[in-house]
């Protein structure tokens, strides 16, 4: 599914990712953990194509398709979804309008017919119910005045409606209390399937108790320095990043 080889990315001419390699096969959930400043968010932004995150070497492909050559919207149409650590507020655009516009833009890019209004509303109603989002909230401008937890739920709602093949969750647990975390994790887990993969970026192990990964990778100074099973997250939580990062250095 996702294959990253020796990826190097600079931000404002400063190298942040320095030869990162990673394979996430179809149906698997991989976690990226690491200390602050390791390059975790840079990885998410670089894969999604954010301006200013300049790939200077290596490759990143989704089912063989070169992501780095594509515009951000083409990456989305290819099935990539980045859940933002800080979802943007979009004044004046109702959440439903935003998501339906995005969905139909993807469908046009994929050569598919647009989603009809009744069809879309039915799907939105079902997704909102599952995420315990009051449907009326979807008529309000997206994320404007929403709490941190509400914004994260809106991100999961968008995933559920856009049905991407590959999800990147950037610090999806930040700002969530335990109840909100459970709702968000349930929403993400409902999307797990044999033909969908996920990359869960997180600083803390807590989220991984709810979204249990198949593999855990440790990112430090722009490279993967250790990989293991879900137990690696617990080791990191107990011992901190210093030992593993120090050994790798």
């Amino acid at each position: 599914m996702l294959s990253i080889a020796n990826l190097q990315v600079s931000v404002a001419d400063t190298p942040i990712l320095r030869g990162l390699s990673l394979d996430v096969p179809a149906g698997e959930v991989h976690a990226i953990m690491g200390p602050n400043g390791a390059g975790k968010s840079t990885l998410g932004y670089a894969l999604a194509g954010r301006p200013g995150y300049e790939p200077t070497g290596g490759s990143a492909t989704l089912d063989g398709e070169d992501l780095l050559e594509l515009d951000p919207n083409e990456r989305a149409a290819a099935g990539l979804f980045l859940s933002f650590q800080y979802p943007l507020e979009i004044p004046g655009v109702p959440a439903l309008t935003f998501v339906r516009t995005a969905l139909n833009a993807q469908r046009r890019a994929q050569g598919l017919p647009e989603s009809s209004a009744p069809e879309f509303l039915k799907a939105a109603r079902a997704a909102a119910g599952q995420l315990k989002i009051d449907f009326d909230m979807l008529k309000r401008p997206l994320n404007v005045g929403f709490s941190g937890g509400e914004k994260k739920r809106m991100e999961v709602l968008q995933m559920a409606l856009l049905q991407p093949r590959f999800l990147i969750l950037d610090e999806t647990d930040s700002g969530l209390d335990i109840d909100a975390l459970r709702v968000v994790a349930d929403g993400v887990n409902a999307l797990r399937s044999p033909d969908r993969s996920m990359l869960v970026i997180t600083h803390y192990q807590r989220l991984l108790d709810y979204i249990v990964p198949d593999r855990v990778h440790v990112l430090a100074a722009g490279r993967i320095v250790a990989s293991g099973g879900p137990e690696l997250a617990h080791t990191l939580e107990a011992e901190g990043y210093d030992r593993i990062v120090g050994e790798a250095a």
Binding site: R75, P91, T101, A105, A109
Partner: protein
Amino acid sequence: MSLHPNPLQFAAGLTRGAPLPSRRHEAWKYSDLLRVLRELPPGSPAAEPSGQGPFAGLADLALVFVNGRGPEAATLGGVTAVRFISDATGTAHESRLRLRVPEGVSATLLESYEGHGSAYFANTLLEIALEPGARLERIVLADEPETAVSVSTADVRLSTGASYAQTVLTSGARLQRLETHVRHPGAGAAVRLDGVYVLAGARHADLTTAVDHEGETGTTSQLTKGAVRDTARGVFQGRITVRKGADGTDARMGHHALILSDRAEVDAKPELEIWADDVSCAHGNTVGSLDQDALFYARARGMDEATAKALLTEAFLGEVLDRMEHDGARELARAWLQERLQ
């Protein structure tokens, strides 16, 4: 900006041989009429009206002008459409209309500027009087050819307890100026003065307003927003004067514009002139580009750049349309805006 104390007299001069204002005139420095006209074109011939106009079906009564020919005056009540149609090429015409809203009456005015032909000069003069306790919502939709020169001047006089709300929507022309003067007596009278300009190509639109607070405790709420692309130019001149003795006035003016290309331009001149005490006045003016983070967020969700820009621009300008009271006209304005942003 030193507008003429008698705006209709000044406007009438434009089609009657008075020297055309150029950028050397303070009030016209961003909209140089002399440069685009050089001299007054010959008079436009009579013509027949065509089409039903943008507000067809929304009004109880339609007043129709073609090349300056139309009724002299009307009394408003209910919903009235006024169509200023230009069907002319290389000629000039003047339309003049007096409107009155009787005491205690609520009325809606749906005013359209429609153009056929090219390179005409249309000069429109409106005198609008609101009697005590009258209410008027005036909605102006101006869609004219890119070669047209069009100047519309409205002189609005409010009596005590009257309420006047205005929304001007325009896509510009070679040079288009929509100028509104409001005499505000205070004493329970209320004014809302809004505008939206969406300009592409080499179009130019100028929204100029002057509100004169003459009495105590009057309110004015003003919001104009615009988006310009290609080599288009938007002009906003807004002046609020609070005269001596107009204490307790509450006046707010906002102008906010998006510049969507490197060569587009917006000129803004907001002015507050305050001679009274205990007033609450504020103005805000911003000119900038779309929020790049929001643009990336929309694109990362699958919107191509054009779709994302149109959606965010529509949302930015839509705030003005939300303030419109007439439901049918608001829906029409939304559709017009979406079409202009395609």
